[in-house]
Amino acid sequence: METAIGHPESERRPARRVLLGSLRELSLLPAIVVVFIVGYNSSPAFFTTANLSNTAQASAALGMVVVAETLVLLTANLDLSLQSIFGFAPAVGAWLVVDKGGHGLGTQWSPWLGIAIVLTVGAVIGLFNGVMIVKLRFNGFIFTLALLISLAGLQQGLASDQSLYNMPETFIYLGNAYWLGFPVSGWVTLAVFLVVGLFLRYHRAGRGVYAIGGNLEAARAAGIKVDRVRIGVFCVAGLLAAIGGLMTAGQVATITANQGNNLIFQVFAAAVIGGIALEGGRGRMVGAFTGVVLLGLVQNVLVLRNTSTYWIDFAYGSIILLALGLQRISSAIRA
């Protein structure tokens, strides 16, 4: 316990602990470097601006949902339905915006209104999840699983299993435009990671998120409005997932009837290998970000090497198992 007894006089945080703290967050860096080297050596196309910015674009949407899920996980809850919000919310917006030729409803509302609807649908579904799970004490796993299944079915039913396209420029701007040679979605996701990370670190409610996940009763006793924070987190998660869906829709200029299908596995994979504890209260945005980067790079490298999708899934699963094993070992060493 020598770490716990310090000199009250020393105003500065011991350098060793600062270093150790950030090291834990950056434990994926070596793996990222390895993937980079492998990628560099396996294809000349890998280390090109075009490829890397494509990878960023492809990972941006995943990143948004990872931020969303991380917030929920930190409060010791979970939300599986995010992958369906990811498909359903943009589909509803596009449906109202796109003409009949693009399988829309034909209303052809303004794309700005459409985007507002996408965000609203995401936030409202998230709010619904939060209220049902926090206030009415539904089991989070089963409840969001049920929502995942039913929303996916609803989306396919409404779309008659057809893809939506002919989306106006404004609607797909987020997903396919570039600023300074880097995809807009990449910038936005980076900004969201940064803002949410700072919020968690420096905002009262952000610290409340950690307190709730660490010990709900203690957080309540400290006067934190625990129900409000927990519901709010679900609501924000729904919103972020909807934005992520909008990114993917814009990137491919289409919304397939099963957009978001199986996305949730990658989301959990990124969060878990990024050090977010499933039991809540532990983990940081920096870690989740490295998780997204690693998964994005792995996928990119495997695709460049013409690996079939089955093997990509296998690689994902193996990465999760490896990450869990390493966490188990590191926590065993610390304990």
């Binding site: 316990m1 770490t3 716990a4 007894i5 310090g6 009250p8 105003e11 945080r13 011991p14 602990r17 670190r201 420096y202 905002h203 009262r204 409610a205 952000g206 610290r207 409340g208 950690y210 307190a211 996940g213 660490g214 010990n215 009763e217 203690a218 957080a219 006793a221 400290a222 006067g223 934190i224 209260g281 532990r282």
Partner: protein
């Protein structure tokens, strides 16, 4: 910050009490858990709140901290009406409680735990928080690194975090709920040092402890509750141990009669021999403990929670791996740390927490009762339902289990009947040694009689029984009692009826001073 009037550590009677309860009452369902209780804590006073389990201490604490509302009576904090029930921040400025179970958040640092949810603005100023936390530690003489993660702290250090949190809010009324239960002796001394410093600065403390010697050491006055009623309030200097224990236990009940006179100890050969046992668990630790349990004997291990008595039971049945010592059953060592091996060797076990370990709530009475003897009831792995039914019926009759059928899920039964199922399950394989921990906690009087009767019958029929309990009532079926305090046997009593005063005094550590 520190008041000059109370420098000598004497309570300050000229200022309003930091907390005052006036004739408060509280009813849960049909149970009157608190009835017309009054109490006041003065600035600079350490006021002991004493009573056996279920006396109403926790309810009173709940009312004083604003978590429960009294049905009757009033409370005042700092001489004023308490804030509304929803205004937690206002309550926290007036009263702080260090609970038995830790309210520290393990994933946050010490500094953040101290200032949790208290930032003036919405933006958390880390530098200021760490500086102020360090200041609090320095002001009160706590030696704790504010950057350490709470998860890495010892129990003692976590308590200091909670006390620091309370003090930094400016609360002048502090409730310490069994603060020493999990502390070792040197940590207790340090805690007392902190308590004395707090008193000197005019903080009023309500101190709850089962260790009565602590009360004589640091408290000025004591209030005793029994069965939700206020029994007495007096300066500890005017209260001798006999009076204190009588107030807690009740004069009429001071002597426990043994139900059956036939149960004089007749030492046969030792069935269980424990020698030099050292072990520790969350229930307390024991050191170098030795005793025998003979055939036809019921040995009682009496000790308060945390005394280590329950750990002995866990070690014998193999739930806890002992650090040292041997445990022999009929002269053969019991395998360490394996429950199934112990049960196979003929040990029956009635665990303390029946909900966690005692039964499978969704399964029926019959299945639960026969869970330990499935092998005996089955051929080639197929359980004969006829055999199971008849075995279960026999046990149900013996224990007077009340259930709609032997298929009724145990979760639907009353607490008393659930406990009968647990005891029946332990008795089903006809063990040679029965280890029982607090078998009648939370059960009604009739079930209690039935349960104790069955255990006593089993003993009379030649079983050896080890009964671990902190309930004097349960000890009446024992033929011999050992008192465990802070991990050691401090007294052996061979003749029934047991003198309750003697047992409690030994368990609470009053002997040395008495």
């Amino acid at each position: 910050m520190r008041s000059s009037q109370a420098d000598n550590g004497r309570p300050d009677e000229h200022r309003p009490p930091v907390a005052e309860a006036e004739a408060v009452g509280k009813t849960f369902g049909r149970t009157r858990v608190l009835d017309d209780v009054s109490l006041s804590v003065l600035p600079g006073e350490c006021h002991a709140l004493v009573g056996r389990n279920g006396a109403g201490k926790s309810t009173l604490v709940g009312i004083l901290t604003g978590l429960l509302r009294p049905d009757g009576g009033t409370i005042k904090l700092q001489g004023e009406e308490p804030p509304g029930p929803g205004d937690r921040a206002a309550w926290q400025r007036l009263v702080a409680c260090v609970y038995q179970r830790s309210m520290v958040i393990p994933s946050l640092t010490v500094a953040e735990n101290v200032f949790l949810n208290r930032a003036e603005s919405r933006i958390v100023a880390w530098r200021a928080i760490r500086r102020e936390a360090r200041q609090v530690m320095r002001d009160w003489g706590f030696d704790l690194d504010v950057d350490a993660l709470a998860a890495e702290l010892s129990v003692e250090q976590r308590q200091i975090v909670e006390i620091a949190r309370a003090l930094s809010v400016g609360a002048r009324f502090l409730i310490l709920d069994e603060p020493t239960a999990a502390l070792e002796a040197s940590a207790v001394e340090r805690l007392f040092g902190h308590v004395r410093r707090l008193k000197e600065s005019g903080v009023g403390i309500l101190y709850i402890s089962h260790h009565l010697e602590e009360i004589y050491e640091i408290c000025e006055r004591a209030t005793v509750l029994r069965d939700g009623k206020h029994i007495l309030t007096a300066p500890v200097s005017e209260l001798d141990h006999e009076q204190l224990v009588t107030a807690m236990v009740g004069a009429a009940l001071a002597r426990a009669e043994r139900a059956e006179s036939s149960a004089t100890a007749e030492p046969g050969r030792p069935r269980l021999t424990v020698s030099g046992l050292s072990a520790s668990s969350s229930l307390g630790s024991v050191e170098d403990l030795s005793f025998d349990v003979h055939v036809g004997e019921c040995l009682g291990l009496f000790g308060l929670r945390g005394s280590g008595a329950a750990t002995v039971a866990d070690a014998v049945v193999g739930l806890v791996r002992p650090a040292a010592g041997t445990i022999l059953l009929d002269g053969e060592p019991l395998p360490h740390g394996s429950v199934s091996a112990s049960l196979e060797r003929g040990v029956g076990y009635v665990p303390e927490d029946r909900h966690a370990r005692g039964f499978v709530p969704t399964m029926g009475v019959r299945e639960n009762l026969t869970l330990t003897i499935l092998e005996r009831l089955s051929r080639f792995g197929i359980v004969s339902s006829a055999h199971a039914a008849s075995a279960a019926a026999g046990l149900s009759r013996r224990l007077q289990i009340v259930a709609s059928s032997d298929q009724q899920p145990v979760s639907e039964l009353s607490g008393g009947n659930q406990q009968k199922v647990v005891v029946g399950r332990a008795l089903a394989p006809q063990p040679s040694l029965l280890v029982v921990v607090s078998p009648t906690v939370g059960v009604d009087v009739a079930s209690k009689e039935a349960l104790l009767g069955v255990v006593d019958e089993a003993r009379a029929a030649g079983m050896a029984v080890l009964l671990v309990s902190d309930d004097l009532d349960e000890l009446r079926i024992c033929t011999r009692v050992l008192v465990v305090r802070r991990g050691r046997i401090v007294r052996e009593v061979r003749e029934s009826p047991w003198d309750r005063h003697e047992l409690i005094a030994a368990a609470e550590g009053l002997e040395a001073v008495a």
